[in-house]
């Protein structure tokens, strides 16, 4: 009854106004993509207003003397515009993404950005939606201060190396906690096969509304024992009131290999290898002779062309959103089919998302989310690029460069050129097996894929019994079902010795989460703003796998696990469970939006620890100086429009990656000749607890010229104690595993600086720029007693990363060299005492391999009596792999209906071990980099040569047998990460076409890089997310460069 009365009154007023005024009509659109904006309030200053319809249109009656209309909408800058004479006013509103009055997600709720006292960064989902990536995290590089993203390789859907304010653990995960719509998600690679399977790929970047990144203790401590690596809140899109709005977004792209090394062609290969053989009398039986194809043409294979391709990818997304006063909904469906640059590497995703919120009455609101995603991560064969696979003999990245150009993939009769598991050696005489595989049959016949079915959903009930009090309970589930399948042909390669091999693992990971919170918000006397949150949360996770491994294929035509094999085994079964029980509280208070204080407390109890209980907290304070009277009166506000200082301190923890049963020492089941055994299998620690991070953060936010330019500078210090290390005991203790203990400590400290500026903001032309830079210093301050260093190997073979107290994580530990002796062409090693040691692979009678004189006649004897240079005795802590400085620079230009985005990322102050380069200069039959023709020693007097005299079989001089400093390079880079040019159809055309919005764009990604790094890409990690083995490029397939054309249409 009351509503009707009000409506009548309005109507009367409107009719009255009409009688003495005029009508203004028009349409409101989003300046970014031209999509219509519904629900924008259109008002006459001081008067009553209307809201725009679903298609953005409005019609408002104003008094005849009205001059302007005000358009305001949450998340957009308010516009005040003059009413034109014809009464038609089309408006495009600019998003207020750089403004401080935005809302951010803070964990169990939201807060106004200006009231947040913690250190947070926000990224709009729209900036990620159009990028040719598999997961959103791949597109975060350079977009927020303190956030470091490294794309480890060119395999689709590899989880990026994701660090917030440095690497904050050694043995546990350093990946941030990712909270998707309130539910902590699975992170990392869940594929057990040669394909990569980032668990976050279930989130379609198009469905992301915003990403809020919490960095300091104030912002993260509400997540207690899981907050040490920072917390990333993903909020998916929700419906908005209004008519159903349909939009489509799609793109097609082509990926190309990027800066691959050049290797010797057939003629150069024969000449160079023959010269190496001539330098080694013991290799006289070896001959490199050309082979000819059926047409009599000399075989000159570019193996990279057999391994790499131009990948074509596409993505299509449709979403519908809308709602009534009471109920809003967002529904989306997405499809993407992407081809990687490696043959056989594909990524396909089908996903749907439904978000519904319904206000039942003034008191009760219910809602929920249901998302389903099916992701197929497909690879034919190992790329040799994922963590642990760098030295695979079938690694595609490696085969592309190691195989000689004088042998081909096929014999002249059309059969595969194979010799047992290896490739056939054709006309290379004297070598019985090349031992590396022919990639072509492997790409044709093997398969290795991982399929994820991922369900994330939640339902909530919210009650507001009295004003200011909100009670909410929500139940969420996250089910990740992974089907892994590997098949290796019996014909050649890894499957050869098994006579055909298949492995399948069906994994089930479940999370159930029940969260109940009560929040009370109150403003007292208009000045005292108080907010109190208390909550309880229970998270239970289970994990399990059924696996089977089969060998000896029954029929050559079979290529699936379900077919016939004669040997069958259970494989890699596991069963795990953990439980996290938490109570938490948050209190925030501000006086007149001027003085802010806040505090968080959380008690976690975690099943996988020996000492289960932990208390975590964060306290913070802020002062908005620009709100002070003296400031506003002083006139300085015209220049410095806002100024806020803030600080926080707190204690948070890390438990990510602790084994479910770490407190226990266990005996596991095995077999002895078919009889059951029970063997000592794992050493536990019943005192084990979480790793703790003490985080300090001090920041200053400043705005100039009415906040046209805003800047933020933050100092942070993260002191990490109780780092869990599996403390190695001497092998003679015979322990089955290294017991875990809270023993290590380290710190990350640094400064972040961000500046955003609306450089130009004209009607037809605008330029917004955002630049951020982070300086981080990492240092390990303690390892375990009796543990002077931790060596981390690359794929179990080469240990180039060594973590030592006083240095940053994963320092490169290599043997120093002193060039190549110009007279003899010998590699000059530098031993532990700084003495030059001359090395020759072939030592004639009376000479030695290692000698203190260039002529080789003086036998080298090390201080400890050894007669050879070794990494153990002679390597030095050589260079850091942790970038000292990183960041990004983002530019958005708009000229009339054109928009242009130029995005750059950079990292400096770090080194990369280009291990691939050792292989590229190995003097076995391996193919070499073309630079051996000019940079390898040839004759007496060749000065400043990079590589030693080629001696057949020499795998020592250039770094294959032990890591040398000649293969360590500065990794500094400045990358043209992204360039996008878009065109939005003007609304006049749109109306004719009956479209709400239409934007077409082209994008180039990764297509230019400024670096002195000689490998394909310094942004690489052969060891994936491993905390203490970054900065290694060993046989990795490099990142792709991508060109894309895309379309966004609103209906």
């Amino acid at each position: 009854m009351r509503k009707i009365a009000i409506a009548c009154l309005c109507l009367c007023w409107a009719l009255g106004a009409l009688a003495q005024g005029k009508t203004v009509t028009g349409k409101v659109t989003d300046a970014k993509d031209g999509s219509p904006l519904a629900g924008v309030s259109v008002t006459v200053p001081g008067g009553v207003g209307v809201k725009t319809e679903g298609d953005g249109s409005f019609s408002i009656s104003v008094q005849a003397n009205a001059k302007t209309l005000v358009f305001s909408f949450v998340g957009f800058e308010t516009a005040t515009l003059t009413i034109p004479a014809n009464g038609v006013l089309n408006v495009s509103l600019t998003s207020s993404e750089n403004k401080l009055d935005e809302v951010v997600v803070v964990g169990y709720g939201t807060a106004k950005k200006k009231e947040v006292t913690g250190s947070m960064a926000s990224v709009k989902g729209s900036t990620l939606a159009t990028k040719p990536v598999q997961t959103f995290d791949q597109a975060l590089a350079g977009r927020a201060a303190g956030v470091q993203i490294t794309i480890p390789n060119g395999v689709l859907n590899s989880p990026p190396v994701f660090r917030i304010r440095g690497t904050n653990s050694i043995s546990l995960s350093s990946y941030p906690l990712i909270v998707v719509d309130g539910i902590p998600s699975y992170t990392g690679d869940y594929s057990q096969t040669a394909s990569a399977g980032n668990a976050l790929a279930n989130i379609n970047p198009n469905d992301i509304e915003s990403i809020d990144i919490a960095k300091d203790a104030a912002a993260t401590s509400i997540y207690g024992s899981r907050a040490a690596n920072g917390v990333v809140f993903i909020t998916t899109k929700k419906g908005r009131q209004g008519k159903a709005k349909v939009s489509y977004a799609g793109w097609v792209s082509v990926n190309k290999p990027f800066r691959n090394p050049e290797v010797l062609n057939a003629n150069d290969y024969i000449a160079f290898k023959t010269s190496a053989v001539a330098n080694n009398p013991t290799a006289s039986a070896i001959q490199y002779l050309p082979s000819y194809d059926a047409q009599g043409k000399m075989i000159d294979t570019k193996w990279a062309d057999q391994v790499y391709r131009d990948g074509i990818s596409q993505s299509h997304n449709v979403n519908v959103s809308g709602g009534s006063d009471a109920t809003t909904y967002y529904f989306s469906a997405g499809y993407t089919d992407q081809q990687g640059i490696l043959r056989g590497n594909n990524f396909k995703r089908l996903n749907t998302l439904l978000n519904v919120d319904s206000r039942i009455n003034k008191v009760v609101t219910i809602g929920g989310k249901l998302s389903f995603s099916n992701e197929k991560n497909i690879a034919a064969n190992t790329s040799g690029s994922l963590n642990g696979s760098a030295f695979n003999t079938g690694g595609l990245g490696r085969l592309a460069i190691v195989l000689p150009s004088i042998i081909g993939p096929y014999n002249n009769d059309g059969t595969y050129n194979i010799n047992g598991s290896a490739i056939g050696s054709s006309n290379i005489k004297g070598i019985s097996s090349l031992s590396y595989y022919n990639p072509v049959p492997l790409l044709d016949l093997n398969n290795s894929s991982s399929e994820n079915n991922h369900i994330q959903s939640n339902a909530y009930l919210q009650i507001k019994p009295v004003n200011g009090l909100t009670l909410k309970t929500s139940y969420g589930i996250d089910y990740l079902l992974v089907d892994n399948n590997i098949f290796w042909t019996p014909i050649t390669g890894d499957g050869y010795s098994y006579n055909g091999y298949a492995w399948s693992g069906s994994d089930k990971y479940t999370t159930s989460l029940w969260t109940t919170t009560g929040q009370y918000d109150r403003t007292i006397a208009n000045k005292h703003n108080l907010s109190l949150l208390v909550g309880n949360e229970q998270q239970r996770r289970t994990s399990q796998r059924y696996g089977i491994q089969r060998q000896n294929l029954s029929d050559a035509a079979y290529n699936v696990i379900q077919a016939g094999y004669t040997t069958n085994n259970p494989a890699d079964l596991f069963l795990g469970e953990n439980y996290l029980l938490s109570n938490f509280a948050r209190l925030s208070y501000n006086y007149d939006n001027k003085y802010f204080i806040g505090g968080n407390y959380r008690r976690d109890e975690y099943s996988a620890l020996g000492e289960k209980k932990g208390d975590f907290y964060g306290v913070s304070a802020a002062w908005d100086v620009s709100k002070e009277n003296f400031w506003t009166k002083s006139g300085i506000q015209k220049t410095i429009s806002s100024l806020k200082v803030r600080g926080s301190y707190g204690k948070v923890g890390n438990i990510a990656g602790i084994g479910d049963f770490s407190p226990y020492s266990t005996f596991g089941s095995g077999l002895y000749g078919g009889l059951a055994t029970l063997a000592f299998s794992s050493v536990g620690n019943d005192k084990l607890k979480w790793e703790t991070s003490l985080k300090t953060d001090v920041g200053l936010q400043i705005g100039f010229l009415n906040d046209k330019i805003t800047a933020e500078v933050t100092y942070y210090n993260n002191d990490i104690n109780g780092l869990i290390l599996n403390v190695p005991q001497s092998p003679s203790t015979g322990l089955p595993s290294s017991p875990p203990a809270n023993v290590g400590s380290m710190y990350n400290k640094g400064i972040e600086f961000t500046v955003n500026a609306a450089v130009i903001n004209k009607r037809d032309f605008s330029w917004n720029t955002s630049f951020n830079i982070t300086q981080n210093k990492n240092e390990v301050t303690a390892l375990a007693p009796g543990l002077p260093y931790i060596l981390q190997s690359t794929s179990g073979l080469e240990s180039v990363n060594r973590t030592e107290v006083g240095k940053s994580l994963g320092y490169l530990w290599v043997v120093k060299t002193n060039g190549v002796d110009p007279e003899t062409g010998k590699r000059v090693f530098v031993n532990s005492k700084g003495t030059n040691v001359y090395y020759q692979y072939y030592a004639p009678t009376g000479q030695f391999n290692y000698s203190t004189t260039p002529d080789g006649t003086t036998k080298y004897v090390s201080p400890t009596g050894a007669t050879a240079i070794s990494q153990a005795a002679d390597a030095v802590m050589y260079a850091n792999t942790v970038p000292k400085i990183y960041g990004g620079w983002d530019n958005n230009f708009r000229y009339k209906n054109f928009d242009l985005n130029l995005m750059f990322t950079y990292q400096t102050g770090f080194y990369v071990y280009y291990g691939t380069n050792a292989g590229l200069h190995d003097q076995r039959w391996w193919n070499n980099s073309t630079d051996v023709l000019t940079k390898a020693w040839k004759s007496k007097g060749d000065a400043n040569m990079l590589y030693a005299k080629p001696v057949y079989s020499d795998n020592v001089s250039n770094g294959s047998s032990m890591p040398l400093n000649i293969n360590v390079f500065k990794g500094d880079f400045f990358k043209f990460k992204n360039a996008s040019l878009g065109y939005t159809l003007p609304s006049s055309l749109l109306t004719k076409m009956k479209l709400a919005s239409f934007r077409i764009y082209i994008t180039g990604q990764n297509f230019l890089i400024a670096t002195k790094y000689p490998g394909p890409d310094p942004e690489v990690s052969s060891n994936g997310n491993t905390t203490i083995a970054q900065g290694v490029d060993r046989n990795t397939a490099a990142n792709a460069k991508t060109f894309l054309i895309g379309l966004n249409v609103g209906f």
Binding site: G518, R540, T567, S607, T733
Partner: protein
């Protein structure tokens, strides 16, 4: 009333949430393993623990494969084909570093076995004895001690100077005899070679006393230790120490003075009529102790550890393996006195590659993936030849019993060659014939390295690998780099 309902609803939500905490879930019990608190609580657990000691010894890095492989490829009869450091090309070339795969893994695998024994012995003393009863416990403990003895003896062969070099006065191994279940026990200095040998003999003597004479299950007589196993192993240990009188004393317990040579007590160990049969029927009376394999994962040596994988050529050459090591064409197979009609030659396979390259391979182990050939630890033939050698050396004559023993082994495979005492001019010739017989008889069974080192002989050159005299670096292995890094009292060789 309405307001009351609201509060009730809100209160209800909060109460249910708090009440639903499952505190029991905070202490989950592993469902796929047994915690140490209850590992000795039932007879079947104790028995399964005992078998795990054999299981540890059977690991691919130890007696399941690599220990035997290294013993042969250090010698002169094999040629490395793949140049792969992971599969022992450095062991073959006699230049592995402290951090070589073989050096690191054999060390840790053997010590894991040793600690499992020590943990078992402690667990038995702390309750296991009572669970199974004293009679059974004594047998179990004897089996455990035998496994520990084999482990220490095996490590001595690679990491330490031969006993003959200074009568065991050179650095031996850290002698771990107590159970280690957690951190803090890393440091321990090396005992002398003699001290380790003393412990090996002490364990074997105690084992012999308490071991059963035989088992009811026939396969257990090969896969588990019985009295004759301890005796046979002692004959090997004493031979390695050049204590020939003790070799004779031990061997005499199970080898009669004259043919037929068959153990009179315990398991009736004797030569199998067919030489090749020993390697297809694994449970003949000749196999005193072998490591059993099945095709179930974890019950065979695992990738790149298998005997057949190393020695058998690839399937393109008609084999089942990876052709890691071929037979040295100027090695023992070139010996003309080893007749082509000798049954043992049937394990030497000649292949011709498409490019004409001719190779010879040992096909004694010929079961393909997952490679379930049983790995021999000790055979009756070895005890016979050890006895023969000891008699020839102690008598310093062409001892008739020694010749008879040699003949028994030779004529089984080669009936046409019959040695008599007149075949040998002196004891040295006889000893050399016995040593040659061992090369032929036990090829691929891992004892060549010990035979060279116990006599301080130079390891001959082969292929591109240089020879190593007893004074050369590389004659024995260096100590594991991991041990040196973490055990501050341990010294390198």
């Amino acid at each position: 009333m309405k307001l009351y309902n609201k509060y009730l609803l809100a209160l209800g939500v909060g109460a249910i949430s708090l009440a639903s905490c499952h505190r029991d879930l905070l202490s989950p019990v592993p469902k796929t393993s047994i915690t140490d608190a209850s590992a000795f609580s039932t007879p079947s657990r104790v028995s399964a623990q005992l078998l795990s000691l054999y299981g540890a010894m059977k690991a691919g890095n130890f007696y399941g494969g690599r220990y035997l492989i290294y013993g042969d490829i250090r010698g002169e009869d094999f040629i490395n084909e793949t140049g792969n450091l992971v599969t022992g090309s450095d062991v073959w070339a006699l230049n592995p570093t402290n951090s070589a795969t073989g050096v690191i893994n054999l060390w840790s695998s053997a010590y894991y076995t040793i600690n499992c024994v020590n943990v078992f012995l402690e667990g038995m003393a702390n309750g296991g004895n009572a669970v199974v009863g004293d009679a059974t416990a004594k047998k179990y403990i004897a089996e455990a001690k035998l496994v520990r003895a084999v482990s220490y003896f095996s490590m001595l062969q690679y990491y330490c100077r031969p006993y003959a070099d200074g009568s065991g006065s050179k650095p031996g191994l850290p002698l771990r005899l107590t159970a280690i279940k957690g951190a803090g026990a890393s440091d321990m200095a090396r005992s002398t070679v003699a001290q380790v040998y003393d412990q090996v003999l002490k364990d074997l003597n105690e084992a012999e006393a308490d071991l059963p004479a035989s088992y009811t299950a026939a396969s257990d007589n090969v896969t588990r230790a019985h009295k004759n196993t301890a005796i046979a192993l002692k004959s090997r240990v004493y031979l390695t120490m050049q204590n020939y009188a003790k070799v004779i004393e031990e061997a005499n317990k199970i080898v009669p003075a004259s043919a037929p040579f068959k153990a009179a007590t315990g398991v009736p160990n004797t030569l199998n009529a067919s030489y090749t049969g020993i390697f297809s029927t694994y449970t003949t009376a000749e196999s005193i102790f072998s490591m059993p394999m099945t095709s179930t994962t974890g019950d065979n040596p695992g990738t790149q550890n298998q005997l057949a994988y190393y020695f058998s050529p690839t399937s393109s050459l008609g084999g089942v393996g990876n052709g890691e090591f071929s037979l040295n064409q100027s090695g023992i197979i070139a010996d003309a006195t080893w007749l082509t009609t000798d049954a043992r030659r049937s394990f030497v396979k000649k292949t011709t590659a498409t490019n004409g390259t001719i190779k010879y391979w040992l096909t004694k182990y010929n079961v393909g993936s997952p490679y379930t050939d049983w790995a021999p630890v000790i055979r009756y033939a070895e005890v016979m030849l050890s006895l023969a050698e000891a008699r020839a050396r102690t008598t310093n004559s062409v001892d008739a019993q020694a010749v008879a023993l040699l003949n028994a082994v030779r004529t089984r495979s080669d009936p046409s060659t019959v040695f008599t005492t007149s075949s040998f001019a002196n004891a040295t010739e006889l000893v050399n014939a016995i040593l040659k017989e061992r090369r032929i008889e036990f090829m691929g069974e891992g004892i060549r390295n010990t035979d060279l080192l116990r006599l301080l002989q130079t390891i001959p050159a082969k292929g591109t690998a240089q020879s190593k005299s007893p004074s050369d670096v590389g004659y024995i292995w260096p100590i594991s780099a991991n041990e040196l890094a973490l055990n501050t009292l341990c010294t390198d060789n």
